[in-house]
Amino acid sequence: MIITKLLEHMKFIHYIEKISGVSIYGLSSLLIFGSFFLVMLIWAIRADKGMMEELRQLPLDKIKGSGKIPIILIGLLLMSSGAFAAGPPAPSSIDNTFVILSLVIIVILAMAIGLLANVLLGASQIPVSKKEAPAGTLGDQPADDKEKVPGENGMPEKTYAGGMAVTASPRSPWSRSYLFLAATTINGVSDTAFYFISGVIILEVLILLTLLYNVRLVLSIHKKAKAAAEGETATAPAKPPVSWWARANKFKPIAEEADLDLGHDYDGIRELDNRLPPWWLYGFYGTILFACVYLWRYHVSHTAPLSREEYAISVQQADIAKAEYLKEAASLVDETTVKQLTATDELAAGEKIFETTCFACHGKSGEGGVGPNLTDDYWLHGGSIQDVFKTIKYGWPDKGMKSWKDDFSPLQIAQIASYVKSLQGTHPANAKAPQGTLYK
């Protein structure tokens, strides 16, 4: 709690959310990685030439996982893109326990990475110093890394279509309504912060695993070199390296299959006693855990919104967004303020909508049909531009005219109304008889 107290004193943290419109978390991630690379650069420049020589001798082509690094970098880039989204300001979360815990984890992992990197560097230097050992150590590394185990011809790639929901970037015009379908805070921190923190932790774990793997690899090379140096011939035939897929499933080699046969025989079909693939089993447990957490959050603790609440939230947020937009929009016209539009492009826009929507009941030229004739001077519900606007906007449901206010913007309705007014006196064919009262 000392940390909390300390942070409380650093009051300015409660106020800084963005600098020049860029979220503070994005900036801090930039800072962290910037300094990391700066430090690397300085170290590289200041390293003495001797160490460089030794590093050059490292059997780096044997170290797997180099392909992982571009992927990690790209993943990092993608994850950090969320940090730069200038979303609505989130409540400051530095004093959130989740954040503190995560920061502690991040620091510990970073220290572990540093330690392991050191070990790796140290371990990789050992065979280098045995350069003078008899031939057969470094030069003749067993070439069977790439050799496939008989029968392990590679599993078919599992592909799956579909996948998790896509949260379109906030810039996409179609995403606004969908953005609000999910809760915008996780564990009390903003989306941005949460994803950033988890991203960093995941990245550190990945780096740790890669380093661990490489340490093991280098150590095994070292062991072989040592064995060769002491003149021992390899005793058992070198066990060919097992693919990651085989390890993930704990495959037993096919050659040892007979040990696993259960002795069942069903019309010639036999069964082996292989164990359950670990990733499958733990994945299964994971889904069960998911189920418990899901039901807990939605139905016990009510920390996640059910459909009605989601709806209410989305309506609320849409109203806020709409109000903000309308403050700036010139589209604020309603039945009391609407004026007859006369510009050709406005009338053309109104005509376009008329020809595709209104014609069904009012005829292509406004001559009427199911609905009344719009080209004469007789109106059922008033003939002023305001009245026509009102009729289109609210409709007359009990007369059969639908309300169009949810289908067209006020500007569009003004355009349609103006177009309708422009049809006065056009005398189309098959005109329906006048209805209503005269309005000139």
Partner: protein, 751 residues
């Protein structure tokens, strides 16, 4: 021990095999027809039987019950005998089973084309056929269990566990979902209504997928894959775990068809979480299958049979990952009611069911005719065409589904909906075209297969009864080798049956019973009243024509849906809906609140020729509704049945008042049509349909407004003239105006 000699019956397998081939073509043709009519409405031909609404159930029933059904029986009859080392229990029962099933299919196709449908997906066949299905299913069960009991193999192989679970669960699902009250020879109403009907229906519907399309085929996979690849099953342990987990978890997943609907939230959540937990058991099957091929992958390159099986199992894995993903509410919010669901279905159907059936056929036929496949090359071609067909089917529909959903949800900055519904349909037409090409390719592949197998049969000689020999079961079965606790139940088929039934019954009971007994799950809405007799007729017409296949009646609590359709649907609105008609797809817009939105004449014109009111519409025209007479003699039995099912029509209403009210309402609609220059003869079906459509959503609007003016019909024979809220007011001085013309250019007077 004395070795017994006996013979396996191949004849029944052969007959089922012929049936599979035959019905595969029919079923796919029906599907292709339906697919083409979605962008080329002229395919509807203007006759009832070929409209999409009737063709689609023919397609689904043909491919599920005829194609996959016969495939199941073919595979079970072949494998069960050999796994039990015993001939089928009774040759007579085998014959009854075969012919009975085919008769059901033929009767089903005819009745569906004739519009005799219950209106519930994959359970459309009416009550006489439901009874027939139950009878034949029992015949199958007796034959199957009789064979198991007289087996000479002490332990049951995993395939047989799947067959047993299939049999008992399908029986349970079919019986419970088909509880219906007959009104006439070919019409019945389910005893369930509204939300409860929806839950029972999708408890059934999803598990039709699980226990008709999945578990029996997993059993087939467990037999035919190791046989074809000559490899042992990878993990016996895995088969035990995934079998029990699968049959337990699958049952609960039904509500994932009803996410964001009026179903109670707790049921929806159960559907979600159990669907997610289902990934592992399903993938257990996939892994066991694919890992069995370790050491045989080089064979896969050579053998078309193995190619089909591998792709089948892979598609199974894809579909059983996608399914749980689609069960997550946030994904479902996008995918429900769109073509994404269709794409998902067809990955499983074309990939898993189709390809597995083809693989089994290619393996079985040469074997049973004691020859080799006529052309491996042709089989390979079939494989590639079929795979391409699957891809061209699914991918455009993913695009279409996602795009359409995003368009539906699009708002302008002012808060208006950006797209009209029709725009979202016309936008994805090219995807429908591509999809039908994919389906046509798949069908072509199947035709190649039929040709190939036909030629194989011709050059072979059929082995009707295959000789075999084995020792009978000893009195006491000695355990040998390493034993598992599970071996105990593998020796006891009856206990296996009972345990399986208990395991599958749990999920259903926990979900169904509270929904029926706990009143708060369906809060009462007092303004909701039963349908009028005329509206009931209209509803039956709606079901008959299959309208629910393109139009949903379930507004979800989303901003865009409320803006487009009206207030979101509440559970209490549907209490009198026998059956519910929430729909699962929006090829056309939702109709839950269409009542009062358009004038009667709009509906009249729209049903006559949809493109007159909605240019570019792909909806077929329903011109026969304007000629057909309404059969008012049925009114009494309809109302009577509804009363029996709990709908509160007054005593004696059916006999005394119902048809009077019907006539009065019919008259008022006709006069409102007349006011709009539309003349129709009396007592036509179109008027009933209009009455029904104009009622949808009205009751809820009534509870929101306090207007006393004729909100909707009052009943109880108090003489109140039934006038619909909505257009019905006399317009001033109706003048001459060209009335709607029918296809021959005549004034529609109706006659």
């Amino acid at each position: 021990m004395q070795i017994e000699k006996f013979y396996y019956d191949n004849r029944t397998v052969k007959w089922f095999g012929y049936a599979v081939m035959f019905w595969s073509i029919i079923g796919m043709l029906a599907g292709l027809w339906a697919a083409i009519s979605m962008y080329y409405p002229a395919m509807n031909l203007g006759i009832p039987a070929t409209t999409f609404g009737r063709m689609r159930p023919v397609h689904t029933n043909a491919v599920i019950f005829a194609f996959v059904g016969n495939g199941i029986f073919m595979g079970v009859y072949y494998s069960l005998q050999r796994l039990c080392k015993a001939r089928m229990f009774s040759d007579t029962l085998s014959k009854i089973h075969f012919w009975g099933w085919q008769l059901i299919i033929v009767a089903g196709a005819i009745t569906l084309w004739a519009g005799k449908t219950t209106g519930k997906e994959y359970a459309e066949l009416e009550w006489p056929l439901d009874i027939a299905i139950a009878v034949i299913w029992i015949v199958f069960g007796i034959n199957m269990f009789g064979t198991i009991i007289k087996r000479r193999e002490s332990h049951l192989y995993v395939a047989i566990w799947f067959y047993i679970a299939t049999w008992v669960t399908v029986a349970m699902l079919h019986i419970v979902n088909s509880i219906e009250l007959p009104v006439s020879m070919w019409k019945s109403y389910p005893v369930y209504a509204g939300v409860q009907d929806a839950l029972v229906q999708w408890w059934y519907g999803h598990n039709a997928v699980a226990f008709f399309l999945t578990t029996p085929y997993l059993g087939l996979m467990y037999y035919f894959l190791p046989k074809a690849a000559d490899r042992p099953i990878y993990s016996y342990r895995l088969s035990i775990i995934h079998f029990w987990a699968l049959i337990f978890i699958y049952i609960w997943a039904g509500p994932h068809h009803l996410l964001y609907t009026a179903l109670p939230d707790w049921a929806q959540s159960l559907g979600v979480v159990f669907s997610v937990m289902l990934i592992a058991p399903s993938w257990g099957g996939m892994l066991n299958g694919l890992f069995t091929l370790r050491g045989a992958w080089d064979k896969v390159k050579e053998e078309p049979v193995l190619k089909f099986l591998v792709v089948a199992i892979t598609c199974y894995g894809m579909a059983t990952f996608e399914g749980p993903m689609l069960s997550l509410k946030n994904v479902n919010a996008i995918s429900h009611f769109t073509d994404w669901t269709i794409a998902h279905v067809h990955i499983g159907a074309l990939g898993w069911n189709g390809f597995l059936t083809f693989g089994v056929l290619y393996w079985l036929v040469p074997r049973m005719w004691n020859t080799s496949l006529y052309s491996k090359k042709l089989a390979g071609t079939h494989f590639w065409i079929g795979t391409l067909g699957i891809v061209l089917y699914a991918v455009p529909l993913y695009w279409a589904g996602f795009t359409q959903s995003m368009m539906w949800k699009s708002f302008t900055p002012e808060g208006q909906l950006r797209f009209q519904f029709l725009e979202t349909v016309t936008h994805i037409i090219p995807m429908y075209v591509t999809r039908s090409i994919g389906g046509a390719l798949y069908l072509t592949g199947a035709l190649l297969m039929v040709y190939n197998l036909f030629k194989t049969i011709r050059k072979g000689s059929f082995v009707a009864n295959e000789a075999a020999e084995a020792a009978p079961l000893p009195e006491k079965i000695a355990a040998h080798g390493r034993t598992y606790w599970h071996r105990w139940i593998e020796r006891r088929p009856m206990q296996m049956l009972v345990f399986s039934l208990i395991v599958v019954a749990i999920g259903g009971m926990i979900e169904l019973i509270p929904t029926f007994l706990v009143r708060s799950n369906i809060p009462t809405i007092t303004s909701v009243k039963p349908y009028t007799p005329l509206e009931l007729h209209g509803r039956d017409i709606y079901i008959r024509e299959g309208c629910y296949l393109c139009h949903s009646q379930m507004v979800r609590p989303f901003r865009d849906e409320v803006a487009r359709y009206g207030e979101y649907s509440k559970a209490g609105e549907f209490v009198y809906d026998h059956p519910f008609q929430w729909g699962s797809k929006r090829t056309g817009p939702d109709l839950a609140r269409v009542g009062g939105k358009y004038p009667d004449s709009w509906h009249y014109n729209h049903m006559m020729d949809p493109s007159s009111m909605s240019p570019g519409s792909i909806m077929p025209s329903y011109i026969w509704l304007f000629d057909h007479e309404l059969d008012t003699s049925r009114t009494e039995s309809m109302i009577h049945a509804m009363r029996k099912l709990g709908v509160p029509y007054p005593d004696g209403y059916a006999i005394e008042q119902a048809n009077k009210d019907l006539a009065a309402q019919e008259k008022s609609i006709r006069s409102s049509l007349q006011a709009d220059k539309v003349r129709t003869g009396s007592n036509k079906e179109i008027v009933a349909l209009i009455a029904y459509l104009q009622r949808l959503g009205k009751d809820l609007k009534a509870s929101e407004t306090t207007s006393p003016q004729g909100n909707h019909k009052t009943l109880a024979g108090d003489g109140v003239n039934s006038s619909q809220l909505g257009p019905g007011q006399q317009k001033s001085a109706p003048k001459e105006q060209t009335a709607m013309k029918d296809a021959d250019g005549r004034d529609v007077m109706g006659n």
